[in-house]
């Protein structure tokens, strides 16, 4: 593996070649004053300087709605496996970390073929952040930079050139035919300055403890008043769940066709803040209160999911929930810091 350097012009040719390779290239583009991942039609539409996208790129690996299987009522069913190769271009480090966590979660226990099929066919070209978003706190969560998961890592250097570092054969094969120059020692040093800068700059909300402390912090916080205080204003709209790169809960519904003999089983995103997230057969809802649902999300991020993935904290500090929450109550840093103030760690 080797790192190369692109001029802007060379980089555009590289991206054009990706588009022409026939695989769909999904990349951040401007959308109504914000940014969103979408199919890239032309290299110049790709925004290297985007701050954050409205939804994370998880939407390509775990689509909002997907058909899991088709069935005959009372008869046979067959799994739908329709994953196609694709390139995710411009994935920020915090989103890359989130994808790495999802990979681990969907691999363990019941291996999720539908997610993993897509993941295995996806090439990821990550990109170090150029413009910090208004609510990012990746530096607090240790996700301002990323060391694994991608096939290529792009970094825009202070002189405007773009360093591309292949981490896998898949990535190397994409870089090989592109016109570029080999990266020099000085370029790698320049990249280090970008990383150092991002470790400080991506911290609009400062978590006052190490993220690894959160599971312990939450052990004694179940009955803290903060849950009621915050949840009082919660619309239960699930916006925080929808925009979160590490929320992966889904609902499964059967949709029968008009002949009432065949149907499709679909899964779609769900959210633990929604009123009926925990409603089960017989109409029993075991998380009826807003506060209980509000608390659950913060416990998922800080304690429950970390317990499944070797202690990694399932909040990557993208700050999307802070922006998306209409009531402005979703900021995890505010809650965790508040608990830090009040909770004895024993």
């Amino acid at each position: 593996m080797s790192a190369v350097k692109f001029t802007r012009k060379q980089f555009e040719s590289f991206v054009s070649a990706l588009i022409q390779s026939g695989r769909p290239v999904m990349a951040p583009q401007a959308k109504n004053g914000r940014y969103a991942f979408g199919p890239l039609a032309a290299a110049e539409e790709f925004r290297l300087d985007y701050d954050v996208t409205i939804l994370p790129p998880k939407k390509y690996l775990l689509p909002q709605t997907e058909t899991l299987l088709t069935y005959q009522v009372g008869g046979a069913c067959s799994s739908v496996r329709d994953a196609e190769p694709m390139i995710l271009l411009g994935v920020h480090p915090y989103d890359m970390v989130a994808i790495n966590q999802m990979d681990e979660l969907f691999r363990q226990d019941q291996y999720d073929k539908h997610y993993m099929d897509r993941r295995c066919r996806t090439t990821i070209i990550a990109l170090d952040v150029v413009t910090p978003s208004e609510n990012v706190f990746a530096a607090s969560m240790g996700t301002a930079t990323v060391k694994s998961g991608y096939d290529i890592l792009l970094t825009v250097l202070p002189d405007g050139s773009i360093l591309a570092d292949a981490a896998t054969d898949k990535g190397q094969e994409l870089l090989d035919p592109a016109e570029s120059t080999p990266a020099a020692e000085a370029d790698l040093k320049a990249r280090k300055t970008v990383w150092d800068k991002n470790e400080k700059a991506l911290n609009k909300h400062v978590l006052e403890c190490k993220p690894s402390y959160l599971p312990k912090l939450l052990e004694n916080a179940y009955d803290h008043p903060v849950w009621e205080e915050k949840a009082r204003l919660c619309y239960s709209c699930g916006s925080c769940n929808q925009v979160c790169p590490t929320c992966y809960c889904f609902d499964v519904q059967d949709q029968v066709s008009w002949d009432l003999k065949t149907g499709e089983r679909k899964r779609c995103w769900d959210g633990c803040l929604l009123e009926n997230f925990a409603t089960v057969a017989g109409n029993h809802n075991f998380r009826k209160d807003r506060a209980a649902r509000y608390r659950h999300r913060l416990y998922r991020k800080g304690k429950y999911v970390p317990g499944k993935i070797g202690g990694q904290i399932a909040c990557v500090g993208c700050g999307r929930c802070i922006t998306a929450c209409t009531a402005k109550i979703a900021n995890p840093v505010e809650v965790y810091n508040r608990l830090m103030e009040d909770t004895e760690l024993g």
């Binding site: 959308k31 109504n32 004053g33 914000r34 969103a36 996208t53 409205i54 939804l55 909002q64 009522v73 009082r232 204003l233 919660c234 619309y235 239960s236 709209c237 699930g238 916006s239 929808q242 925009v243 519904q253 949709q255 029968v256 066709s257 008009w258 002949d259 009432l260 995103w269 959210g271 929604l274 009123e275 009926n276 807003r290 922006t323 998306a324 209409t326 009531a327 402005k328």
Partner: protein, 248 residues
């Protein structure tokens, strides 16, 4: 197995929701493959007093309409409210904000005293008879109509969302109307429309009615955060939310 007999009736409405059923176009063949439509004034001339499922479009605004609806209810095993006028009273409830005499005068002028125009306060269908299933919206969503009917035919609970429009709006990656400093009813209104209005540059108008448990208390304080007032919000609720529960 005989196919269930379905009758479609309209009360005070624009009949746009029935039109949405007509607009199923080719899918309508699937619908009549699954059920026997025995009465549907908008699309056929036959009539029948014998049916299993009654689909009611429109709100109830006259005493004689209440009686007609009760008779329909007594004949049907299952009664479905179709569209905002039927499910929540819809735009017709606007008039409940005013003196009925003035309303009649304003709308019908010199004919205001004609006996057939002697309308009462607007009621949603479930304010008169028991409703078994709701198909929300102004107009209804054709796809959702199919999902609800098919679920009912299988004896299953219809998949009607009880979460706010924000869920579908976020999924579409719309920029929140509040970020533009506008009021949107999305956070307290039932989804299922695919956030159609916000996705086309408007706010949510609230045509599907409140979610079952809207946080109206939050709405008051949240308006403060955006430099808006609850009066602003109430104004936006008038069109579809007049004289409904959960009033702000």
């Amino acid at each position: 197995m005989t196919k269930p007999r379905v009758a479609i009736f309209d009360f005070a409405c624009c009949e746009g929701c029935q039109l949405q059923i007509v607009n199923l176009e080719e899918e309508i063949l699937d619908l009549i493959g699954a059920v026997d439509v025995v009465e549907w004034r908008e699309a056929m001339s036959e009539q029948s007093h014998e049916y299993d499922i009654a689909i009611i479009e429109g709100s109830i605004t006259r005493p004689e309409d209440e009686k007609r609806l009760q008779i329909i209810r007594s004949r049907a095993k299952l009664l479905i409210a179709l569209g905002a006028c039927a499910t929540i009273g819809g735009v017709n409830k606007l008039k409940n904000n005013f003196d009925l005499k003035e309303v009649r005068q304003c709308v019908y002028g010199k004919d205001a005293d004609m006996p057939h125009l002697n309308t009462a306060m607007t009621k949603a269908v479930d304010e008169v008879v028991q409703v078994d299933a709701y198909i929300h919206g102004c107009p209804i969503d054709r796809k959702e109509f199919g999902l609800v009917i098919r679920a009912l035919l299988l004896g299953k609970k219809p998949p009607i969302p009880d979460y706010p429009v924000c869920v579908e709006c976020k999924a579409k990656e719309n920029v929140c109307r509040y970020e533009y400093g506008e009021i949107c009813l999305g956070p307290i209104i039932r989804a299922g429309c695919g956030a159609r209005c916000p996705s086309n540059g408007f706010r949510c108008f609230g045509c599907r009615g409140y979610v079952d448990n809207p946080n109206v208390e939050a709405a008051r304080e949240v308006m403060d955060k955006y430099g808006l007032t609850v009066e602003d919000l109430k104004q936006k609720m008038v069109l579809f939310g007049s004289k409904q529960e959960h009033t702000l």
